[in-house]
Every structure is written in C-alpha cells, then in structure tokens.
C-alpha cells in the first residue's frame, strides 16, 4: 500500500483539474495537450498565442519541478533511443487521429461526460495494457 503517493496523486490530479477548469471558465478553451501542441507546431491562426503560452507554461513548470521536486523528475527513459523515437511518433500521430490524449479525452472529455472521450480513453488504456504485456514478452522492462 502506497497511500502517501496516492494522496499526493489525487492532489496533483485536483491541480490538473483546476488548471483545465480555469482555462475553460476564463477562455472557453479545452486543455487538451496534444491539441494545444498541434496548434503550436502548425502555427494555427487565432489560437497560436495562447497555445504557445500554455506549452511554455508547461515547460516552465517542468524547470520549476526540477528544483522544487527533483525526486519526482528523476525518471529515466525506459527504452532504447530508436524505440523512444517510435513511441513518440505513435503518440503524436495517434493522439491527433483519435482527437485527444490523456488530458483532452481522459480529463476534459470525460469531465464533460462526452461518450466519444469515454470510449477513446477506454480504448487507449486497453491497448496500452496489451502493449505492456507484449513489451514484457519481447523482453523489455
């Protein structure tokens, strides 16, 4: 049992929910990270500036975390570099094709009782679980 980790996880989750809810209430926008990153890298008209600012906020938060909570930023990449590259490609392509990632579907979509997001989230968690089983069979961590 790891109650401290889970309690902090719930508090972290509330912070994520608060950030997404504040963005929704103040601007009407959805805090879906893959969609936000998509708007930035494609230089989306009208939406570019706030999306870039959000990504910079995430990055600044990461830099802050390295100093404030270094033990939570100590994780290593679990796979070899070519496999990490492949995983990144799949995550980028898949989240855009499916219209959202863990934040867009998993938090904001489910948080709006959107059936599409509930089904999407169940799908990527189920496929993720199967992938973990296969990765172990092949000999990964």
């Amino acid at each position: 049992m790891d109650w401290q980790t889970w309690g902090l996880a719930a508090v972290g989750g509330l912070m994520i929910g608060a950030a997404a809810a504040a963005l929704l209430a103040l601007t009407g926008k959805t805090a879906g990270i893959s969609g936000i990153l998509d708007g930035v890298v494609r230089g989306e008209k009208f939406e570019f500036t706030w999306k870039l600012a959000f990504v910079l906020g995430l990055t600044a938060g990461g830099i802050g975390l390295v100093f404030v909570l270094p033990e939570n930023m100590a994780g290593q990449g679990l796979r070899s570099l070519p496999v990490m590259a492949l995983a990144g490609l799949l995550v980028g392509f898949g989240t855009r094709m499916g219209g959202g990632c863990t934040s867009g579907h998993g938090v904001c979509g489910i948080g709006r009782l959107n059936v599409r997001s509930i089904v999407g989230t169940i799908t990527f968690i189920a496929v993720g679980a199967i992938t973990v089983v296969f990765a172990r069979m092949i000999g990964g961590a």
Partner: protein, 148 residues
C-alpha cells in the same frame, strides 16, 4: 494579452500537478497499464482527482460566455464514434504503453534536458505534423507552400 497570460499560468499549474502526482515518472504510468502484473493505481487517482474538479465546473458553466474573449463554454459535444477514434486511440495506446509517456508529461520532462525525452517529444511533433499532412489536404498545401 489576457488569454496568453491565462494560458501560461494554466500550463504552469498543470505541470506542477503532473509532477506532484509523479506522472513524470514513466514507471508509474507503465505500472498503471500493467493490469496483469503488479498494478499501480496512482494514475487512477490523478485522473479521478482531475475529473472531480473539472466536471462540476463544466456542469455549472456550460453554455455560458467565458470571462475573456467571448467564447461560449461548450455544452455536450457531438459524440460520434468513428473509425478514426478507435484507430487513433489504439495507435496512441501502443506508443503510450511502450514509453510510459503521453504528451503532457513529455513536454514537462523536456526540463530534464535528457536526450531520450527530447527525442520522444521531437518525434511526437513529427507524428503530429505527419498526421496533418496525411489527413488534412488543406494543411498539407499550407506546409508545402511554406516549405517551397
């Protein structure tokens, strides 16, 4: 200038939430997906906490005007289930299950300045651009015009 400032601060809070919840630790994410092994429920608490905050706020404000910019806070969206959803979420699930990193933590982990996470995010951006090239002819024309 209000919208970018709001975006920045929300991104900052989002990142701190991810960090406090240890979603920046790929083994935690892989542990959650490992239903058939030594299951780690941490991610469930994170998602549960986030939805617990977001859902009532959305429910109370849906259909109203946002504070800045005049956008309407979306009501229930059209929730059609199509092939793109299942195939896209499936492809994402494979990548997520391999690396234990999704887009939010990926960007936050750039702060570690480590080659594996930088490579992951660079390839994630490549995947996003590849998708817009293959799936959206209008966007691909824009890219073609920009690179010509």
């Amino acid at each position: 200038m209000a919208k970018p400032l709001i975006g920045f601060l929300c991104g900052l809070l989002f990142a701190f939430g991810l960090g406090l919840a240890q979603m920046t630790e790929p083994t935690r994410v892989i542990g959650f997906l490992d239903f058939f092994g030594d299951w780690d429920p941490t991610l469930m608490f994170v998602m549960g906490g986030a939805i617990a905050f977001y859902l009532p706020v959305w429910y109370l404000l849906r259909g109203r005007k946002a504070v800045v910019g005049g956008d309407i806070i979306p009501k229930k969206l059209v929730s059609n289930l199509d092939k793109r959803l299942f195939i896209g979420a499936g492809i994402f699930g494979v990548g997520w299950g391999i690396a234990g990193v999704c887009p939010g933590p990926g960007i936050v982990l750039l702060a570690r300045a480590q080659v594996d996470f930088i490579l992951f995010v660079a390839c994630m951006i490549a995947g996003i651009l590849l998708h817009s090239l293959l799936m959206n002819p209008k966007a691909s024309k824009q890219v073609a015009a920009a690179t010509a």
